[in-house]
Amino acid sequence: MKDLKRKFAAGLGSFKLSFFALFFALLTGAIAIALSGYSPIETYKAIIVGSLGSKQGIILSLSSATPLIFTGLAFATAYKVKMINIGAEGQLYLGAMAGAVVGAYITGLPRLVHIPLTLLSGALVGGLIGILVVFLKVKFGASEIITTIMLNEIILLFTSYLSSGPLKPEDSVIPQTHVIQETAQLTRLAPRSQLSSAIFIAIAAAVLIHILIKKTPLGYEIQVTGLNRRAAETAGISITKMYLITFFLSGAIAGLCGSSLVMGVNRRFVEGISANYGYSGISVAALGAYNPLSIIFSATLFGILKSGAITLNRTTAVPIEFVDAIQAVVVAYVAAPRLIEAVLSLKNKIGLKKEKSLNRQQNLAEGEVIKDDGNI
């Protein structure tokens, strides 16, 4: 019993939290689907069959997951120093535009040079936006949440101007840029699919960030900054430097997402190239407990939901908005760990002695959490 108490005192493990958040989200989704008059079982079956039931489905799941690995990672990286980067969407757009320009207008390079150059151009502009945000924060005290949101707007409009004005091909009726050179296109891994080698780049980025944070002295400083800014400052760590490094990386990863979308999926910049990947990245990061390696899995999970939704849309009458709703609810549960703790504690409560249980009930009623109880 005491062990159990300790466990609770330590709070939920992040894995357990993510697992239950997902479970409850699916449950909530099922209820919503049922209340709307559709069959939850049929719906979930259609999602699973559609996303995992065939080779094409699995490939679609992976290609849908790729941008989410990037944007989830982008959010998580900034979050390592407790900075919130809502700007992945804008950084992605600018990265995509940079990739489209470098990919289309630089000619005569061998693939081996052109591909990395195009990828890095996206990362660079994304990273520079990150630097700008930190500059505004450190120099003028502007909240990074506000500036990143505002920059999203500015960048979206700017890229929209470029793609409907100066960079638009003559014969095009919609806002887009020229198709990039063959030498800048990422290989598609499977015929008849959008899955490109971008997925390896995404996974490599996640692994590198993981190693950076966990295994290097710089990573240690980043971690300390995230845990306690004052303590880090006292220990002689330059907070500004930490902000700059993490936010540059965060923006660069989002920018990389943009350039890899251009190089692997669309072959050019088109308006609406991001299906809100930047914002979905926040959910992905939260579900992956901001751990770079877990994010690969949480992104894959969202990729499965997304590819399932596409099939769902064809085979059933269920509106695919439910899938969006489920993703949103996941975040709500992840963001409310105490809610899940409270629900889960019900199960363990039953075995406890009555008076203790009563004591706890009182605590709960007063809005306290089990955690505090364990410290008595």
Binding site: L27, E42, A46, Q56, Q194, E271, G272, A317
Partner: protein
């Protein structure tokens, strides 16, 4: 308290299962029509999907009508973003179940071309843009100037007329253009040509809203135009048009939109229609009749795809004005008029072409 909560969770679970059981019988697919009928059509709608009271809804309406008339079955999807077009088109093509896959909207061009080259035996139709040079793609599009031309004629006549309550002394019209792109510009050129065809001295103020979902800015542009003396404003800006309508209501002026559903019965003089439903219907019809061919069709007023529409609107337009509009419509049907496609060419065109009764 915790016990209660547990029961609450249990109750929800039971309810879920119960509802699941109840709703299990619901038809799980959109397919309708007889099973013995072989023909099956797939539709990939444009971004935004159904419920836009405009383009997508009209395309779907055409599909529904064709399904009813020909007894075909259909499936459709609503892409969430431009990245979804390709997998969704491919999904339909891959299944091999569909006689025709209809892609709605110009934004799908790249995806349709790519998937069509992957599946040479699958027939595709794309609506609202011209595509040529593929053995398995037929494209249907409208002559953009013709969509707005007759509304232009109507406006050119009405602004001179003092029998209508909301007109003023000035000979000024306005066009709130959606975005600065070739198609919207062609639409505006058609309107201007129409107005100047019957009213050569008319001044037409135009401005670009810059987006299809920006009613606030559209309203500002409309108000400015009214303040400069315009008494009729038209737009081709989808949901932004709601702002234009609001401005017309506020100032008591006339508006001409492009969507019948969002027209205001008291202030809408007419609607410039491009019958997307007709284009979709024709595609399905050609499949049913076996006349479907790869290539490109461009439709206009003569094909009953472009028109002006005053049905259901309360503004009373004098008969003699409508007679002239109908007369000019007939001129177009008879092929007597070739419309300009560029705003810059309108004045020169109007100098050569004037309506003579």
């Amino acid at each position: 308290m915790k016990k209660n909560f547990k029961y609450f969770v249990l109750t929800i679970l039971i309810c879920t299962l119960f509802l699941t059981a109840c709703s299990g019988g619901d038809s799980p697919t959109d397919s309708e029509g007889a099973i013995d009928n072989e023909i099956k059509i797939a539709m990939v709608l444009g971004e935004g999907g159904l419920g836009d009271l405009g383009f997508n809804d009209e395309a779907f309406e055409g599909l529904l009508k064709a399904a009813e008339d020909f007894g075909i079955s259909y499936d459709y999807v609503e892409p969430k973003s431009v990245n979804d077009f390709e997998p969704q088109l491919r999904m339909f093509a891959e299944s091999g179940e569909y006689d025709l896959v209809i892609a709605v909207g110009a934004t799908q061009v790249d995806a349709v071309k790519l998937v069509a080259s992957e599946f040479p035996d699958q027939r595709f139709s794309i609506i609202d843009v011209a595509v040529e040079g593929y053995d398995n793609i037929h494209s249907s599009s409208a002559r953009n100037p013709e969509q707005h031309f007759l509304s232009g004629v109507l406006s050119g006549l009405v602004t001179l007329d003092d029998r209508l309550p909301y007109t003023n002394e000035e000979n000024i019209l306005a066009f709130a253009i959606s975005i600065d792109a070739p198609i919207p510009r062609e639409a505006a050129a058609g309107f201007m040509a129409g107005a100047k065809y019957v009213n050569p001295d008319v001044e037409i103020i135009y401005n670009f809203i810059g987006g299809y979902r920006d009613p606030e800015k559209a309203k500002e542009i409309a108000l400015t135009a009214f303040d400069r003396g315009a008494d009729i404003i038209t737009h081709n800006a989808g949901a932004s048009g709601l702002g234009v309508i609001e401005a017309a209501r506020e100032r008591g002026k006339y508006v001409i939109g492009t969507s019948r559903q969002s027209a205001d019965v008291d202030y809408s003089l007419a609607v410039s229609v491009k019958k997307t439903e007709q284009m979709v219907y024709k595609e399905v019809e050609s499949i049913v009749k076996g006349t479907w061919q790869a290539g490109s069709s461009v439709y206009g007023i003569a094909d009953d795809v472009c028109d002006y529409d005053i049905s259901g609107l309360k503004v009373e337009i004098p008969e003699d004005i409508l007679e002239i509009v109908e007369d000019i419509k007939q001129e177009i049907i008879d092929g007597k008029l070739e419309l300009p496609y560029k705003i810059e060419d309108v004045d020169e065109w109007a100098a050569r072409n004037q309506y003579k009764k």
